[in-house]
Assembly symmetry: C2
Homo-oligomer: 612 residues x 2
Amino acid sequence: MTGVKHMKWWGWGVEGVGFHWQDKPAFRPFVQKAVALDVKVPPSKPIAFEDLTVPAPILADELRETLERIVGLGYALTDDESRVVHTFGKSIRDLLRIRRNELGRVPDIVVYPADEAQVQGVVDAAAEAGAVIIPFGGGSNIAGSLEPIPGEQRTVISLDMGRLNRVLEIDEYSGLARIQAGAQGPDLEEQLNSKGWTLGHFPDSFTHSTLGGWVATRSSGMQSDKYGDIADIARGLRMVRPGELVVLRPLPSTSTGPSVREMIIGSEGRLGVITEVWVNVHRQPAVREVQAYFFPTWDAGLAAMHEIAESDASPSITRVSDARESGFSLATRKESKGFSAVAQNTLMNVLKRRGWNLDDMCLSFIGYEGTSKHVSYEKRLVGSIVRKHGGIGVGKGPGALYDQKKFDTPYLRDFLLDRGAAADVSETAAPWSKLKSVYDNTIAAANRAYDELGVHGWIMCHLSHSYHSGACLYFTFAFKHDENPVAQYQVVKDAIQQAFVDSGATLSHHHAVGLEHAPWMEEDISTGGVHLMQALFDAADPQGILNPGKILSRGFHAAPEEQASAAAAPAAAAPAATAPARKPAAAKRSAAAKESAPESTSAPESAPATAE
Amino acid sequence: MTGVKHMKWWGWGVEGVGFHWQDKPAFRPFVQKAVALDVKVPPSKPIAFEDLTVPAPILADELRETLERIVGLGYALTDDESRVVHTFGKSIRDLLRIRRNELGRVPDIVVYPADEAQVQGVVDAAAEAGAVIIPFGGGSNIAGSLEPIPGEQRTVISLDMGRLNRVLEIDEYSGLARIQAGAQGPDLEEQLNSKGWTLGHFPDSFTHSTLGGWVATRSSGMQSDKYGDIADIARGLRMVRPGELVVLRPLPSTSTGPSVREMIIGSEGRLGVITEVWVNVHRQPAVREVQAYFFPTWDAGLAAMHEIAESDASPSITRVSDARESGFSLATRKESKGFSAVAQNTLMNVLKRRGWNLDDMCLSFIGYEGTSKHVSYEKRLVGSIVRKHGGIGVGKGPGALYDQKKFDTPYLRDFLLDRGAAADVSETAAPWSKLKSVYDNTIAAANRAYDELGVHGWIMCHLSHSYHSGACLYFTFAFKHDENPVAQYQVVKDAIQQAFVDSGATLSHHHAVGLEHAPWMEEDISTGGVHLMQALFDAADPQGILNPGKILSRGFHAAPEEQASAAAAPAAAAPAATAPARKPAAAKRSAAAKESAPESTSAPESAPATAE
């Protein structure tokens, strides 16, 4: 055994943990209304592991022996389960494909280096052999950043960073910690907390994702208003590349030309393998509170978040759900009894008397950290803004509940999938002035896609991660699927992503690009921007062995006729010769075409291809 | 006339403005003590313009006509004064060389495009003709980012952005403004202020530098604690490249792979010409105050700044000068009279009675912005930290004085230069835990260099720009030079820069790299980091026409025998084949060698070379 824990190969999280609805009285009617699904239907079991068709590894004995020599016997694995666990992340597309025995190209060998020297050895051996390296952290990625490109002829090595999981050093006076890239959220927080420190980075994937993965995908945690995005938090790092090491010392700021740190952040393995990160760490605050508020409408909630961002207040969390997501939150509560139930009813009656339409009501969470005096000061500043926008504070109770449940939503997705409904998330960021139209356009686009598909679909949203000039909108969508769920998903996902970029928003605020969002890169950062990035990838990885096809490629939109030539070719093109990502109109057409030939995106032989 | 204003060709700022000491009674004895200079000596005049030896332009008629056609007659200039004004920035090295008629390679033609389309035309014409493009903003650069490399055989076009100086658009709800890259500080602030907004970016060069220049050199303003560095402020931009445009829309945050935005920020013209920037702008605050404090010692001041950064307080400016710089500030005050003089004497007597050694006393400025209530709250938080470290508040008076004088220091440099003393600045950033040793090592290194040179030298420092994990240390140094000032300067500058990188600090916090700091790039971002950046430059500019030699090269440390081959060769090397920047020991040797052959760095034919 390697000692490295992984999630279930067929779903989120650990075995034995799942979502239960029986103690949540509002849940069944809510799901019935939202996606026309009766959660009482008997669940289907995922495919049995023995029924998966796992292709034989493409692996020369010599390379296998070299890798075993580097990482040690027992740490270079070619068994089917290791390889399957390392094939995908945990997007709905990933779960649907694995449950339908559509594995595609599976990594040929999984290696677990023990330290940076072994990572260097593995990368150098791969370069020598012309094999592909895909770094693997916690495996929680939902952007298609982990799977080999279809038709890859070269050996694919999944490089699992799980053994590099230690906090190596804390510079207490500077508030900096040096942490190995394979450390998962709970592990590193535990090591930091034991000395009074916290990283303060809590993405939804926290329980099953790693520091290196956060950096490689530009992650953002729910307290980013205070602690910053991972790009702010990561002040220095080390990255292994073929034949060399990049070492960026921790610096609060520097003017040393184009930022190599910011080239590596978000690089998804395309420039090398991150082994260590110097991160800002903070003393655990004396007080940490999440207060809940209700707003009469979504517009009022958005306006309040905007005004908080503009004000002198600096809360750690700003979050407001739209009416649909607020309804969802209320529907997943356990049954209220006694005093709590009475209080709730009283509150609702008060709000009704105030003229609120309870169907429009929006739930908000604002987080505060610091000394108790500072928290009081901040709450007063925020409270007056909330009241100005017609909102009302409802105390710490719901916030504490949110804090407990925040990492559990992915389990609900598995629960729905067992019962025939596909659910996933898409998130974006935009300037404050565009958020309403981004929201309206995205909801409309998803509903048009549902109509087109003839399915009963659902989409809800919250605003989170506020900045001076804008914020993140986070959408969750679900529908009862038919026998071609991946093709149906593609139609909905395409519609949402296209609405983002068409409305002046980005293709993703913190979920990265991978193969899932690659088709929108050109619309997001412009053709010229893609050319610059492609120039970097081509020059930095002339062999095309570093997680090829991710970020810049046609992603899941590859036309079948283009794949054979594109899939296995190493990168060599000059910037001007780079094939462009698919244009929006073409993407829409592609999605429509897939609807009539619904297996085309999910069948392994016609999935992603790279334009390089 | 182009309508674009420039600084004096021989010094800082506008004609007719200069430093005067006669009304500052403590100034003459201070300078006598600091650098053994009597400011009463009659000043020397800079060389007359007619006495400069300006080489004939290397410029084919066809290219000149093409450029004239693009930008219009009168906006493509080849007269000597236009070319000389665009040869250098304003480092002490630049001023010394120009005053000594050591012009080196002078740009062949200066063009003033009126809009982005004309910038594209100029860049495309240059690419077609194989000519070099050097973008020019306000010309305040002190890192050697503006001069052509010596021996450049190709035509060099200085692309002056001065006509692109407008605020194009304000997105009021988002707090974003779209501003042309050639807008100078006062111009853009005036345009923003007239609508109630501010950029909040006030670098020392503010009065004579441009938005595009700030972005291209990773500038930071004195209120960066509140408004952020330019890398935080610039949310989107447009950049012209040969044959194409990079367009990055304004976004609060995004996860679209390696950051193209952060590749362009700090790129000093090596990737293209920035034409527009979307920046965060803020409502002018109701209250803006700079409070002054005294600390008994430098250590106490540093410790207080650290504790403020760690606390719940968030001032807009944190700054503390060491005892020498505090003495300098007091020596440049106008004579105190009446009540003010009495108050000062009283305060000094109080501090003496408290046991302070007034020679160790350190002056600090802390800035506050927001509502008056918020400013009061912040002042209370900071005040208690100041008192804890033995400091004392002395009110708004000195802060107001600092606010008025902050942009005047460069004029003092010209005053000293007229009288035989060379003065310049070097600044850096490091984690809090390293600041004391960075400071001690730098002071010691400068003093060793002075001893080596046998000159009476001075070095002083302040901390500014606080971050969670560290801060900037800003050194000002001066010495009475002999007949080889550039060689002497090189010895001191080398010693300071080497002390920075050897102590875990960066080669520059906000003055960029250019040719001045290029020799330390490998020690700062590692050989692997240099290779990644070189890969980007090589692939993005295969012709090597975009401000070649800046950031990555041997800079001013080129050995004479290496220049002939290196100077004019376009970039073509693969990352692994890139010639490394000079190693630290070699840099020290180089400096020592220059001392015995003192003209070698200042003579035009043996100045910077590029390793590409």
